[in-house]
C-alpha cells in the first residue's frame, strides 16, 4: 500500500518584513513560472514521488497573525525522505522560499535544513485523497496502459463483441497489465462504496450472521444429543458441564458432530472472503468446480444455518410455555430441514440425487420425532453456556458498535490520540463488565442499555447546549453581501483554467476576537469539525468521492499556528465555479467555513450558509490567495481518468471469465490526454 504524506511547511515571516514582502512575492512568482524548468525543482519532480506541489504566501494581517511562506507537497512515502531530498538537492529553492523566514538556518548544513523543515511541517488537520493507494508511478503507468489500450482498440477495430474485443486486448497487452493490484486496493475496489448507511447495513448483516452462527451451533449440539440418544446412549447427566463432557467422551459420534459443527460453519463463514481462488493453487476445472460450490454454499449457508438454529433452539426456548408448542415447532423445523435438504441437493447435484435425499431426510426426521418426541434436557450449566454464547454474540456486536461510536466521538472531541488511547480502556471496561455478569445475559443487556442510554442522553444534552451557543453566536453575526474586487479576481484567475486541473489556496479568518469566549468556541468547534472531516475522509470517503464530489485529487484543511486563520488547499478538476458549486451539495462544508468570517450566515452550524450559492462563491473568491507556483505530476488526468485507468488495469489483470465485459470496454477511450509538452506550453503562458 502506498503511503501518502500531506506536507505543509509553513515558514513564519518576521514582522518587520515591510516592503520585502512584495519583492519576495515577485521572486516566488518568477520561481513558480520555472516550475518545470528550474533544475533543482526538476530533480524533485524526477523522484516521481510528488503528486502535487505548490507554494504561496499567506499575507501578514495586523491584529490577526504574521505572514507565512508555505510549501504544499503531496508526497509518496515518508516525509523524512522529502526533507532529505530538499535539504540535499534543492538548497537554492529552499533558500528562495524560506530564507526570509524566522529560524531559517541560513548558514546551516543539511541537518539543520532538515530540522527546519521537520519543525515547520504542519501537515494537515483534515486531509482528503481522491485517488488513494496509488503512487505517482502507478498513476503514470496506468495512464500509459490506457493509451496503449486505446491504440490497440483502434487496431482491433471493434468488429467483434465486446467480450471478444476485451479478451483480444488482454492477449495483446500481456506485459502492460503489470502486477495485479495490491491487496488493499483490491479489497477496497471490491467493497461497495462507503457511506454510513452501507456500513450500518454491513454491520447489521454481520450481526445477523453471528446470531445465525450461534443458533446453528446450538441447534447442531441439540441434534447431536438427539442422535446419540437414539443410538442407545444414556441420557447425559444434567448436573454439570464436567459430566456432559464425560458423556461426550463416552459417545464419540455425538462428540464428532458437536466438534464438526462449529468447524463446518466456521468454514462456511470464511469462504465468502476467498473471492477468487488463486490461479496458482488449482487448475481451471478445479477452480470452476470450487467456484460453483462456493457460490452454492454461500447462498445457502445462512439460510440453512438459520433453519437448523430455529429447529434446534426454538423448541427448547418456547417449549417452556407448553410441550405442545415444542412439538409443533419441532414439526415445523422438520419440514424446513426437509425443504432445505431438498433444495440444496437439487440446486447443487440435480434432480436425481435430490429426489433420493429428500425423502430420506423426511424419513429421518419423522423417525427422530416419533422415537424421541421429548426435547432433550440440558444441564442448567449448558443452558447458561448457550445463553452466554448468545449474549456474547449479540452483546459483543452491541459493545463493538458502542466502542466505534465512542471512538468517533472522542476522536472528534479530543483528537485522534485520545481516541486511540480511550478506546482500549473502554473495551477493557466492557470485558470486565461482561466477566462479572456473563452468567446472566439479561442483566448484562440491561447494563449495556443503561450505559448506552446515559451516553446518548449526555451527548444529546451537550449537543443541545452547544447548538444553542452556536445559534446565539450566529444570530449576532450579520450576513456579508456578495461583492467582488476585480483586481484581486484578476490576480487569482490569471492562474486558472490553463489545464483541466486547478489549484486553490484559501485563507479565511476564524470568527471572534482573540481571547474571547466566542473565539474559543469557534476554534474548538472548528477543530472538532475538522477531526470529523478527517475521520470521514478516512473511514467513508476513501473511494474517490468526498460526499459525492468526484473532482478532488488532494485537499486539506489546516488551522494556521496563529489560531486565527484557516487554510484550505485543493488540487481539483474542472473550474472554480463548478467545484464550489459541488460544495453546495455537501452539508459538512458549512460546518467548517461557517466558523470563519464573511461566510454566508449558517443556521445551526450545518444548514443555510453553503446553499446561498452566489454569496458562498463570492466568499470563496474573497478568501482565495494567489498560487505563486504549482506543479502537478499528471495535469492531463481527472480523478475519474485515474480511476478509470486503474479499473482498466484491474480488469485486464483478471481471469478472462470474470472480466466485466459490457460497459468497461466502451469506456476505455477516456480523456485523450494532453501531451506533457502541451501541458507545459499551457502552463508557461501563466
Amino acid at each position: 500500500m502506498t503511503r501518502h504524506e500531506a506536507i505543509t511547511i509553513l515558514g513564519e515571516l518576521p514582522a518587520d518584513i515591510g516592503d520585502g514582502l512584495e519583492a519576495l512575492r515577485e521572486d516566488l512568482r518568477a520561481l513558480g513560472s520555472q516550475m518545470r524548468q528550474d533544475p533543482e525543482l526538476r530533480t524533485l519532480h524526477d523522484t516521481e514521488r510528488v503528486h502535487f506541489m505548490s507554494f504561496f504566501i499567506v499575507d501578514p494581517e495586523p491584529d490577526v497573525g504574521p505572514g507565512y511562506v508555505a510549501l504544499e507537497v503531496n508526497w509518496d512515502g515518508a516525509a523524512g525522505d522529502l526533507y532529505e531530498h530538499l535539504a540535499r538537492k534543492a538548497q537554492g529553492v529552499l533558500g528562495r522560499l524560506f530564507s526570509r523566514c524566522r529560524n531559517y538556518p541560513r548558514e546551516g548544513g543539511v541537518r539543520d535544513l532538515e530540522r527546519f523543515l521537520r519543525a515547520h511541517n504542519r501537515g494537515a488537520d483534515a486531509y482528503y485523497l481522491g485517488t488513494p493507494d496509488r503512487s505517482v508511478q502507478q498513476i503514470k503507468t496506468e495512464r500509459e496502459l490506457r493509451k496503449k489500450a486505446a491504440a490497440k482498440l483502434e487496431e482491433i477495430g471493434w468488429r467483434n463483441t465486446a467480450g471478444h474485443t476485451f479478451r483480444e486486448l488482454q492477449r495483446r497487452l500481456p506485459e502492460s497489465a503489470g502486477p495485479p493490484p495490491t491487496r488493499s486496493l483490491r479489497v477496497r475496489w471490491s467493497l461497495r462504496r462507503g457511506g454510513f448507511a452501507k456500513m450500518a447495513g454491513a454491520s447489521a448483516r454481520a450481526g445477523l450472521w453471528v446470531l445465525v452462527f450461534v443458533l446453528g451451533i446450538t441447534g447442531l449440539i441439540d441434534l447431536a444429543v438427539r442422535v446419540s440418544l437414539e443410538l442407545g446412549a444414556p441420557r447425559p447427566d444434567e448436573s454439570s458441564v464436567a459430566s456432559l463432557i464425560a458423556w461426550l467422551r463416552a459417545h464419540p459420534l455425538g462428540a464428532l458432530i458437536v466438534a464438526l459443527a462449529p468447524s463446518a460453519y466456521a468454514l462456511l463463514f470464511v469462504f465468502p472472503w476467498w473471492r477468487e481462488t488463486p490461479r496458482q493453487l488449482a487448475g481451471k476445472g478445479t477452480r470452476i468446480l470450487l467456484g460453483v460450490l462456493r457460490r452454492k454454499l454461500q447462498s445457502w449457508a445462512w439460510r440453512t444455518t438459520l433453519i437448523v438454529g430455529l429447529v434446534g433452539v426454538c423448541p427448547r426456548l418456547f417449549g417452556i410455555l407448553h410441550p405442545l408448542i415444542a412439538d409443533a415447532l419441532t414439526l415445523l423445523g422438520g419440514v424446513l430441514v426437509v425443504v432445505a435438504v431438498g433444495g440444496l441437493t437439487l440446486a447443487t447435484f440435480g434432480r436425481v440425487l435430490a429426489s433420493l435425499l429428500t425423502p430420506l431426510a423426511a424419513a429421518g426426521w419423522a423417525y427422530l420425532l416419533v422415537h424421541a418426541p421429548q426435547a432433550p434436557v440440558f444441564a442448567s450449566e449448558v443452558e447458561t453456556i448457550a445463553m452466554a454464547v448468545l449474549s456474547v454474540g449479540v452483546g459483543g456486536l452491541f459493545a463493538l458498535a458502542t466502542l466505534a461510536v465512542a471512538f468517533a466521538v472522542i476522536h472528534v472531541a479530543w483528537g485522534a490520540t485520545a481516541g486511540w488511547l480511550a478506546t482500549p480502556v473502554l473495551a477493557m471496561l466492557w470485558v470486565l463488565l461482561f466477566l462479572s455478569n456473563w452468567e446472566s445475559p439479561l442483566r448484562l443487556l440491561l447494563y449495556w442499555s443503561v450505559v448506552l442510554l446515559a451516553f446518548l442522553l449526555l451527548a444529546a444534552v451537550e449537543a443541545a447546549l452547544f447548538m444553542l451557543a452556536i445559534r446565539r453566536a450566529e444570530e449576532r453575526e450579520g450576513n456579508q453581501e456578495a461583492s467582488w474586487d476585480l483586481e484581486h479576481l484578476d490576480e487569482v484567475q490569471r492562474h486558472e483554467d490553463h489545464v483541466y486541473q486547478n489549484h486553490l489556496v484559501n485563507v479565511s479568518t476564524i470568527k471572534g476576537k482573540p481571547g474571547t469566549a466566542a473565539h474559543r468556541l469557534r476554534v474548538a468547534t472548528l477543530r472538532g469539525v475538522l477531526r470529523a472531516v478527517a475521520l470521514a475522509a478516512w473511514v467513508m470517503f476513501n473511494r474517490g468521492d468526498l460526499g459525492g464530489i468526484k473532482s478532488i485529487h488532494f485537499a486539506r484543511f489546516l488551522i494556521l499556528p496563529d489560531q486565527r486563520r484557516l487554510l484550505f488547499l485543493s488540487n481539483y478538476d474542472d473550474a472554480f465555479g463548478s467545484y464550489l458549486g459541488d460544495f453546495t451539495n455537501v452539508v459538512g462544508v458549512t460546518a467548517v467555513w461557517g466558523n470563519t468570517v464573511s461566510f454566508p450566515r449558517p443556521l445551526f452550524l450545518l444548514w443555510g450558509g453553503i446553499r446561498d450559492e452566489q454569496r458562498f462563491k463570492a466568499f470563496g473568491r474573497r478568501i482565495q490567495r494567489e498560487t505563486l507556483g504549482w506543479y502537478s505530476a499528471y495535469h492531463d488526468l481527472s480523478v475519474q481518468d485515474v480511476d478509470g485507468a486503474t479499473a482498466l488495469r484491474v480488469s485486464l489483470s483478471r481471469e478472462v471469465s470474470t472480466a466485466p465485459v459490457g460497459s468497461q470496454p466502451t469506456r476505455i477511450w477516456g480523456g485523450d490526454p494532453m501531451s506533457e509538452a502541451e501541458c507545459d506550453e499551457a502552463l508557461r503562458s501563466v
Partner: protein, 506 residues
Amino acid sequence: MPLPEPHDIQRLILRGYRERPVTSYLLMRVTDAAAARTWIGRLAEATAEANRLADEDARQLDAHLARAPALIGTAHPAWRREDNDRVRGLRLMLAFTHRGLERLGLPAQVLETFIPEFRQGMTAPHRSRVLGDVGSEAPENWRWGSDDSPVDMLCAVFAGSHGELESTRLDATLGLRGAGLEVFERIGARLSFTEPFGFADGLSQPRIEGAGTARVAPMTRWDNSLPAGEFLLGHRNAYEQLPVSPYALQEPPGPGVLPRVPGQRDRWDFGRNGSFIAMRQLSQDVEGFRRFTEGQARRDLGDRAGGASEQTLRDAEERVGARMVGRWRSGTPLELAPEWDDPTHRTENDFAYAKEDREGARCPIGAHVRRSNPRDSRTDEAIGVTPEVAMERVNHHRILRRSRVYPAKPGEDGETGIVFLAYNTNLERQFEFVQQSWSPNAHVDALPDARDPMLPGAEGADNTMTVQRQTLATRMRGLSEFVKMRGGAYFFMPGLRALAHLAGIS
C-alpha cells in the same frame, strides 16, 4: 404563482416574437450620453404609457399602439393579443454591456454591484479560456465585441416584414439620427425553427415558473420548469435565494422610480426584472458539415459504400449528423429513435438518459444535446445521486435561448449562422458552466472527445467524436471546425423601470 410585475419585464425573455419573424440586431456605441439617454427615455416612456393605458382601457391601448412606430415589448398580459393580432409597429429589446452602462453615465457605485462576469466582460483573458475562445476563435479575430470593436448597447428590433428593417427606413422610424448612438454593426436575422445545418432547434427550453407560457404538455420523465430567479433578477432562484442584483445606494429621483431591495431600507434595486444575456454570433459552415457527414457515411458503410444506393448513403449521412447532434433533423431525439428517424416524436422533449442509456448506446454521451443538457445522465446511485437528484443538479445550469438565424433572407449570399442569445441570472453558474464544464469536457463520463462537435473549437486539432453503441464504440475522426465565432458580448437587459431610471440620470 404568476410573475408579479409583467409590465416591468422586457418581453423577449418570456416570449420570442413569433409574430414578428424578421429581426435586426443593432450593435451600437454611445457617442453622446445625454442624447442617448433621451432616446432611451422616450422609448421607455412610450412603453410605460402603453402599459398604463392597457391597465385602464384596451381600446385606448389600440389607439396608442397604432400611433407608436416602435415600442419596447413588455410582458404585460394585454399585449399578448398581439400574438394573434394584426402586427403593427416594431418591438424592441434593449440591453447594455458594462461599458455601455458606464458610458451612459450609470454611477460607479451601481456599476460595482454587478456580478463580476458581467463587469469583466466576455473577452477578459481568463474568460476566453473558460469559453474556449482561444486560438483561431480568440476575440482579436472576432468581427465585433473584442477590445478593438467594443459594443455598448444592443437594440434588437423585431418586425413583421423585411421592408421595415431596411436600414435608412429603420433609422428614421427609430429616430436614431442625432440620438447619440452609432450603429456599427447590423445583423439581419430571421425566426427559424431549424438552424442552418438543418436541425430543428429550440426544442428544449426551460419553462419559467409563473411565466404562464406552458404550452407544452407536462413532463413525466424529467422536470423542465425552473424558478423565475434563474432567468430574472429579483426573483427566487433554484437555491431559493435572490440572485445578486445591482442596486443604487441613493434614492433615484424622477420617473419609473426603482423598487426597494427587499429587506433593505436604503437600497434601490436596479436589477429587478432584468437579466443577463450571453450573445454570440456563430457562423456555420454548412457545406463543410455536409461534406463531413457524407465522408463519414462512406467510412461507416466501409466496403458497402461502393455499391450502396443513393438512399442508403443518404440514410447513413443522416445518421452521422443525428449522432453528432443527438436529435434527427426533424427534432426527434435519438434517445427515442436511435436507428431511424421517427417523426411522431418530432417535438418530443419528455425523455431522460439514466435508466436506459447510461453508456450512450442510444444517444452518444458526447452528442450536442446531451452535452449541453445531460438531464439525468450523471446519476450515480452509489454516492446517493438518484436520477431525480442528478436532474435537480443539472437544472442549476440551464439557460434560456432566444436565438435567430442569419442572414435575414434564406439563400442570401454570404455566410450563414446563428445569433445565439442566452438569458440567465448567474453567468458563471449557467452559461459559462455549460460552455466550460459540459461542452468541451473530455474528463468525465469517460468522454474521449475534447469538445462538442457543434461548437467552435481550436483549428487544426484532431477533433473526434465517439459513438458508443450497445457493445462496441466507433469513433469519427477529422471533424473540422464547422462553427466559428464572429462576435459576442455579455449584455444586461434591464427592466422597464431600470431603463427609465437609466434615462433619467442627470
